[in-house]
Symmetry: C2
Subunit: 356 residues, 2 copies
């Protein structure tokens, strides 16, 4: 049932070994060890959850951002605004996981006092898997929302060009015996990673997934370039609102500037917004947890659609992958193993797990 | 371009006349005049915006909720929890517009001090068009979010039954010369109103819109009963999270109880969540407004998809309808005119505009 292993893995490694490797690489690249540990944690968490597109496969991208000067290894992160219920974190181009965990920790702290805590993140880089941050808050007994705004590559509804990002949204709440519920979804019909994967396998993609470089609909995996928004105007509208309520609130607009310059000259940057709501301030957290389990049980008991073996909750596939992979290790495909070996060589890191 | 007039209207009435009529009806039904004015305002606003499904066509439904004892005409609305940045409004089954405007006014007030304000609404009824409340905040210089949670009638992904509601989400921000941007979307592929409309016209509906009463996919407008979620697991996941972060936070779960009882015995009820972010606390509101106009201009300048005359922003169609209908009046179809004449007779209200 779990999505992960489409091809036989070239290696299966433990989360610990992968974490050590990732941390070593970022330290060698010049990142303070505590920061490198956080980045490694967020990436390996995505691999454990089966979200391979947001795991260690991103290490090479992060290194490129460092090489290009887009990601700042030694940022001077500042709290620019602070109120009783909010902070605006100026991230100085810190790695996304550093900025987003800083903001969520602050939001959780604020929510303990004020019932609600808002963390705004200005000028970070790839925010990785948003579910990591909302789950952090859920584990503190909070309901949480996270948004991230990025550079345009998805079609805006009604156009034949990249106009917005697939800006994701995550919502999480604590649960009872079944654990937290964590939604983490992009505003596109399909993740960009799936287009990349189709290109590798050569399998045609469904109609309605993507446009080619000229803005024409295509099912050719080699031509597919611009993902289409979820539900047309709804997906691109939601994505635009995330840019407005995130990037524009922190005075760091991304979309307009990127669309105004001809060519692909825009630098990588992102902004983020996190929100935590302290359940204890508004009701009984234990009752909340049992009500979560109760609604899950009710939904799972509904008659299934044809061919469906099990009704799944948001994030359920991911938490099962997490259990499986924590026990059995993380399978890595050949292309990623080769990439990471190259990284190991470049940085003289010997900790890349060689287990086959 | 505007959606409204599909059939020749049976009557075209001014917003003022319609407002007077709606207010009179609710006052005769037993609602305090100030409350009746707010309900009338929210309903007529939806008609002005061209969202006919959420306008005065709902008066008969509201009267039924009153008759059934689900809507409380003289609620004792209480602030159950109050912190520096939040309120929990126990609405005592007040009409949705009363509860939601109370919560948004509180959220805006809180946000002025704390940067962010959260308003939670427990136990209200039909919350009407959420864009009304987020626009209220935008007009106060705030970015805003509104969510509403309701009884199940949409399919949960993977099932063949109604498991969640089409729980809507609205996000709005202030704008510059082009005015505010207001997204207001349901989490279903299609609004229930469109299924009702297809039933009336007899036109087949597109595949992927709805299931019949037995949970089978259908394109027959007479058989279509259960709308499908936007993008499968994304739409039903988002809808479920709205139930969790709204209804469960205010200790008034809706879905589980409704699914556990056999038959359709559940009473109408809703919960809501509104959030306001004061732009002044985090940046320059004037710069924000011009950046909104700038990104709109950039998106509108993108090459159009074939057959598309104009690239539209969230809520743009609605604000044009608002201008047109404020000037020209609100067209009402025959069925609604007949319904409202019936209402006028029942309550001895003579103010129903008879202009043809």
């Amino acid at each position: 049932m779990s999505e992960p292993s489409r091809a036989a893995p070239a290696a299966t490694v433990t989360a610990d070994a992968l974490h050590r490797f990732a941390q070593d690489v970022f330290v060698r690249a010049g990142m303070p060890p505590a920061d490198a540990a956080i980045v490694a944690d967020v990436l390996v968490w995505a691999d454990l959850r089966g979200v391979d597109s947001h795991g260690v496969s991103r290490i090479t991208m992060y290194l490129r951002l460092i090489d290009d000067g887009d990601m700042n290894l030694t940022p001077s992160i500042k709290i620019r605004t602070e109120t009783s219920a909010s902070v605006l974190v100026d991230a100085d181009r810190a790695a996304g996981p550093i900025a987003m965990t800083t903001a969520m920790n602050a939001a959780v702290r604020k929510a303990r006092d004020a019932g609600v805590g808002l963390g705004l993140v200005r000028a970070t880089t790839h925010t990785a898997a948003l579910g990591y941050y909302t789950l952090m808050a859920a584990q503190e007994g909070m309901a949480a929302i996270a948004l991230a705004a990025s550079t345009p590559f998805m079609a805006y509804h009604g156009t034949r060009a990249a106009g917005v990002s697939t800006n994701p949204i995550s919502i999480a709440v604590p649960g009872g015996a079944r654990g937290p519920v964590v939604l983490d979804m992009a505003t596109g019909v399909v993740a960009r990673g799936k287009l990349v994967q189709a290109r590798k396998t050569g399998r045609p993609i469904p109609a309605g997934w993507a446009l080619d470089r000229d803005g024409n609909p295509t099912t050719d995996p080699q031509a597919a370039l611009i993902p289409l928004p979820l539900g047309g105007p709804k997906g691109s509208g939601l994505s635009l609102m995330i840019e407005l309520i995130t990037s524009l609130v922190v005075s760091n607009p991304i979309i307009a500037g990127a669309l105004e310059v001809a060519g692909d000259g825009t630098r990588h940057r992102q902004n983020g917004l996190v929100l935590a709501i302290d359940l204890r301030r508004f009701g009984d957290p234990e009752a909340f947890r049992s009500e979560v389990d109760r609604v899950i049980a009710a939904l799972k008991a509904l008659p299934h659609a044809p061919g469906v073996l099990e009704v799944l909750m948001p994030g359920e596939r991911g938490s099962r992958a997490f259990e499986d992979r924590t026990r059995d290790g993380i399978p890595l495909p050949r292309a990623i193993v080769d990439e990471l070996r190259g990284v190991a060589t470049r940085f003289g890191v010997t900790s890349f797990p060689s287990a086959g």
